[in-house]
Amino acid sequence: MPPLLNARDVTKRFGGLTAVNKLNVEIEENAIHSIIGPNGAGKTTFFNCVTGFYRHEEGTVLFKGEPLDGMQPDRITREGIGRTYQNIRLFQNMTVIENVMVGYQSHLHSGWIGAVFHTRGQRDEEKRAVEEARKMLAFVGLAGRGDWMSKNLPYGDQRRLEIGRALATKPDLLLLDEPAAGMNPSETVDLMEFIKRLRSELGITVLLIEHHMQVVMSISDKVTVMDFGEKIAEGTPQEVQNNPMVIEAYLGKGATEYGTVGSH
């Protein structure tokens, strides 16, 4: 079976800086795949290339066998890739349930006419949307918070809401950018369980950027290690943990060596 997402030689440059350099990543269907690496290794840049917010100069990203290159981000989302952000980006002045309903919007079809004349189709659709959104809130553990202004949610709940909103787009692949950042140990354990549920209950493939090693090592099927825009290792958590290159990158012993790699 071909991989769900297949990035081939993806390269992204900002002026003279090569943020992602000839990156090859394959994400199998139904996997939990993590990307780790020091700050500035190009992980989030890679996310942005996949989701269409950056255009990579070289290489190609295949999703379900089709190239995504050059597609607008909204199109890519509709193809089935959802994402969250490193620094939470909710629609702050909308209610919690509205946030989720926005995520759900590409599965609704009513337009201007339907909205103004409250056509039957539109009303049914709205009802369904509220229902679905409620279910999603329950799934992410925010039942009862639906009418809160999302900016008033506590931090952990904002993270959940952001994931819920991404799930509402009904993705096949979910990109999570440091979901455990700022969480306390018990919240982190909950999060790990939650990510596993995404796969087992919703059948979603997860690509994760994370600094929290406990999370990465305990839930990932496969780990890709990046440094200075390049892939330096890949494998199961065990393999990666024992890889001398990875240890070097994290301890910074070989930093200068990789520095020369990053600069051309």
Binding site: F53, R55, G70, M71, Q72, R75
Partner: protein, 358 residues
């Protein structure tokens, strides 16, 4: 393959190509026909060209304020045109005093005249700079971290507040800037007959542009401003006083606009409350044309716009058979703004900013 192309190129892009192509054809037809009709002589074109340079150098001075403030705050200071207007008013009131005391009577350029003009310009620059600083302190500083549209709306409000305050304070009538006997008529430079006021305006503008360039590139303060434009937080960490740098930016931009107000008044001899609106918008166009945030770009953009505005109505519209083309010169300037923002938001020398994604 075709499917791929359709994904990459949206309908809007194609529509824009078509619009652009049609416009290009119209412009070329207009120019060719005008030149074939031969209604204007070479001297006419030279006049228009020199006129364009003098007007454009004033735009360049105003545009610098837009571009510097944009560079440092990422904000369109919509009220900047009114700072220019205020400068013209301050200059006018000072000039009136000099006129009453006979400073403008001598038939030739003498020390008294030069002194008077320098003082008038300095007063205008100082007054306008003061107003700009006040504006920044009261209206913009509290909004530095607000969403982008909030300071823009504030600036629009400030613009109208200033315009109609000046209307209320000093009256709605057009004030005639004093006529200076020594600057009447033309001089011949390299065989070209040029109005003396135009020479003064062009020379003064270029002196100020060079002074500004040196200030930004060489002085410590100028470098601090550049650093803050790059990255406010990092600059603050390096011990640069961000508030002070922003204030100096408004000061310098305001002073240049004030001086531009005097030059504009010399050129057109009219001072009134709404005079800042169109030059302000055109200077903004010039700043965008040169790449907003880019100081050299603002200078180039200002000159380009001045010349284009002077030549284009006659050059293009006459050939298309449109009567009284000068009536449409402002419309053309706006059209240029719209086209630049649509087709080349980076401007001539700028970084790509108008659409946020690469």
């Amino acid at each position: 393959m075709l499917k791929n192309l359709r994904r990459r190129v949206s309908g809007t892009t194609i529509a824009m190509w078509i619009i652009g192509f049609i416009l290009l054809v119209v412009v070329i037809v207009g120019v060719v026909r005008t030149l074939m009709i031969g209604k204007y002589t070479g001297a006419d074109w030279t006049d228009l060209f020199v006129y364009g340079i003098s007007q454009g150098s004033v735009y360049a001075l105003i545009a610098l304020g837009y571009t510097m403030v944009y560079g440092i705050l990422r904000m369109i200071n919509f009220a900047h045109g009114d700072i220019f207007m205020a400068g013209a008013f301050f200059g006018y009131f000072t000039a009136i005093v000099f006129e009453k005391n006979g400073f403008f009577d001598s038939p030739t350029v003498d020390g008294k005249l030069v002194l008077a003009l320098v003082v008038v310009t300095l007063v205008a620059a100082a007054g306008a700079a003061g107003l700009a600083i006040l504006l920044e302190r009261i209206a913009y500083r509290p909004l530095r971290r607000a969403p982008r549209l909030v300071p823009l709306i504030t600036a629009i409000g400030a613009s109208f507040f200033l315009e109609y305050s000046f209307l209320g304070l000093f009256g709605s009538g057009i004030k005639g800037f004093p006529e200076i006997d020594a600057l009447k008529g033309r001089v011949s430079i390299f065989g070209v007959e040029i109005l003396k006021t135009q020479v003064v305006v062009i020379v003064a503008s270029f002196v100020m542009l060079i002074a500004l360039w040196l200030f930004v590139q060489r002085s410590k303060m100028g470098k601090a401003i550049q650093a803050v434009s790059e990255d406010k937080d990092a600059a603050a960490l390096m011990g640069i006083n961000v508030d002070r740098s922003i204030m100096i930016t408004f000061l310098v931009g305001g002073a240049l606009a004030g001086a531009a107000g005097v030059l504009y008044a010399l050129l057109f001899r009219q001072v009134y409350f709404f005079m800042g609106f169109f030059p302000g918008l055109k200077a903004f166009t010039a700043a965008v044309l040169g790449g907003i945030g880019n100081i050299a770009g603002a200078m180039v953009g200002g000159l380009f716009l001045g010349i284009a505005e002077s030549l284009f109505p006659n050059l293009v519209l006459d050939g298309l058979g449109i009567p009284a083309p000068y009536q449409l010169k402002d419309a053309l300037a706006f059209l240029l703004l719209v086209l630049v923002l649509i087709f080349r938001p980076t401007g001539i020398l700028g970084e790509r900013l108008a659409t946020k994604k690469a």
